[in-house]
Amino acid sequence: MKRIKISYILLAAMVLLPSLGHAQQYNGTSGFLHIPSAEMSHEGDARMGVHYLNKALLPDTGFLFQGEKYNTYDFYLGITPFEWIELSFTSTRRKDTRAVTGEVGFWRKDRYASIKIRPLREGRYHPAVAIGFNDVGTTAFNKERTDVQLYFTNIYVAATKHFGFGGNELAVNLAYRHYFRNYNNKWSGLVGGLSFRPAFFPQGRAIVEYMGNEFLIGADALLWQHVRIQASLIDFKYLNLGLCLQLNMLGKKYVVAER
């Protein structure tokens, strides 16, 4: 029976992922693909992962090498110490020429911390509400400071409501996001999306979202309760991929990665 179940999961994953591709969580917090949501990981969850980032998902400046944008990757550590707060730390690699040898590689990095807080849990009639900060320090509010790199700096408020039908689950997500610099403020403003978690494969979900300037489709899944994979396509063209190891430090086991 167990063998059948695992086979079923694998088969569903194989079918779903190539067709939907892409996923966010590129900074170790829960959310949709690129837009934040009010869903949270489970209390005690720790995440460690790596994410391949297409250049279309990067800021317009700061990630240029010899005048051109490039694909890169990041890695992150994240934790949900309580059910109402998530913390993470992300390092995004930047391409450069090594000073001594002249070798081209991802020698440089942009590091930032993320905080997500959910003050309002989802109720029968109202959505969950979360607020969050990416890479926000005092310099973010100082427009005169141009020497500090704030490529991923943004704040947001998100509302998410789930609806169930026939064992399936549909999540409606709406968020307002503000970027502090013009590197990527094309993604500022109202953003939103839908996710669908099928009854026959609750470990996974398909997502479609509007990220402020482009559309994004994708899927993610929690496999074997510890391995989280994600894939997404920006404007149906630009692929992003993510792989994450997830453990619950309270020893609990979950089928669904976030709630």
């Binding site: 005690g44 913390l87 730390f89 450069d96 001594v100 020698w107 911390a113 005092t138 430090m249």
Partner: protein, 323 residues
């Protein structure tokens, strides 16, 4: 006069530490401390130093073999060495050198728990150290530490200075048992002559503790320098990050007179600001090779407070009492 005061303070602290070491009153002891035993163990250290924009990390990987001779009645002799396997940081460090050798004694004096230590501590310090912990309620406790130390290092050749540096901290702890969450705040004077404060919030999970911390010190904060206001000093001197302590398996163990095992834990600390004035800020030392933020200063079988009220990380076969 200042010199006399210094001598008084030195002698006073040395006297107290020696008194704690020599006291062996009718302490209740059970668990591992009832019977002498010796543990040989090894942990490891991984340092990823993110100093340079043109390089991913400077990697340091050390093995940290050590021993603990539990002499009974909470007397302990412990030592540790450092074996460098990978070192991309400095050419001046020996591949193998002793780093700690400490004799310590824990005891309960009325409501106060005391720990006196003498020897070579971590962070290249040697001397005397006294720790005190006062649980007031199951959720509130106060703590203090005082040390009189000098430099003692064998990392890059023999280096030693007179034992004249006084360090001391005082602080409080709040433990929220429902969430196994601990809040800690201390102010103090530290080994590099700086003074400052530190606040920590940590949650203890199954076999792991994760914490956030913030700290400020007067040197990084340039306190008292011309043109630096108090607000500016607070901003300049503030730093923080996160800490993780993972207790290493196996969690079910057999305890014999002589034991070989992995170190009790692996810990890492991340500091947001990597510059020297922040790395060296608010520094003290460990007096036990396996000291960590999860277990605190005192043995689990002596002090039942905070994380020591949780399920033990290590269960010893054939013993009712566990560590």
């Amino acid at each position: 006069m200042k010199h006399n005061y210094s001598i008084f303070r030195r002698n006073c602290l040395m006297g107290i530490v020696l008194a704690v070491l020599l006291m062996s009153g009718p302490q209740r002891s059970w668990g591992q401390s009832e019977k002498a035993s010796i543990d040989f163990f090894s942990g490891f250290e991984v340092g990823l130093y993110d100093f340079y924009f043109y390089q991913k990390y400077n990697v340091v990987f050390n093995l940290t073999p050590g021993f603990k001779w539990n002499m009974g009645n909470h007397w302990q002799l412990a030592g540790q060495a450092r074996l460098t396997v990978i070192n991309q940081l400095s050419n001046d460090v020996r591949r193998f050198y002793p780093s700690m050798l400490v004799l310590s004694k824990e005891l309960k004096a009325g409501p106060v728990y005391l720990k006196g230590s003498v020897g070579a501590f971590s962070n290249s310090r040697y001397g005397f150290d006294l720790k005190a912990f006062l649980p007031v309620t199951p959720w509130l406790a106060f703590e203090a530490q005082a040390g009189l130390t000098g430099l003692l290092t064998m990392a890059g050749g023999w280096g030693m200075s007179p034992m004249g540096r006084f360090t001391g901290t005082v602080g409080g702890d709040i433990y929220l048992s429902r969430w196994n969450t601990q809040l800690r705040g201390v102010v103090g004077k530290y080994v590099y002559t700086d003074w400052g404060f530190q606040a920590e919030a940590m949650r203890h999970f199954n076999h792991a503790t994760v914490g956030l911390y913030a700290k400020w010190n007067n040197i990084a904060g340039q306190l008292g320098q011309e043109g630096v206001s108090l607000t500016q000093s607070l901003a300049k001197g503030m730093d923080g990050g996160f800490k993780v302590t993972i207790m290493l398996p196996p969690y079910k163990r057999t305890h014999r007179t002589v034991n070989f095992r992995p170190a009790s834990h692996y810990s890492l600390t991340y500091l947001v600001r990597g510059m020297a004035q922040y790395r060296d800020a608010n520094q003290l030392y460990y007096t036990d090779p396996e000291e960590n933020m999860r277990d605190g200063w005192f043995s689990r079988d002596l002090l039942k407070w905070g994380s020591h009220t949780m399920e033990p990380d290590f269960i010893y076969k054939g013993k009712e009492e566990t560590e």
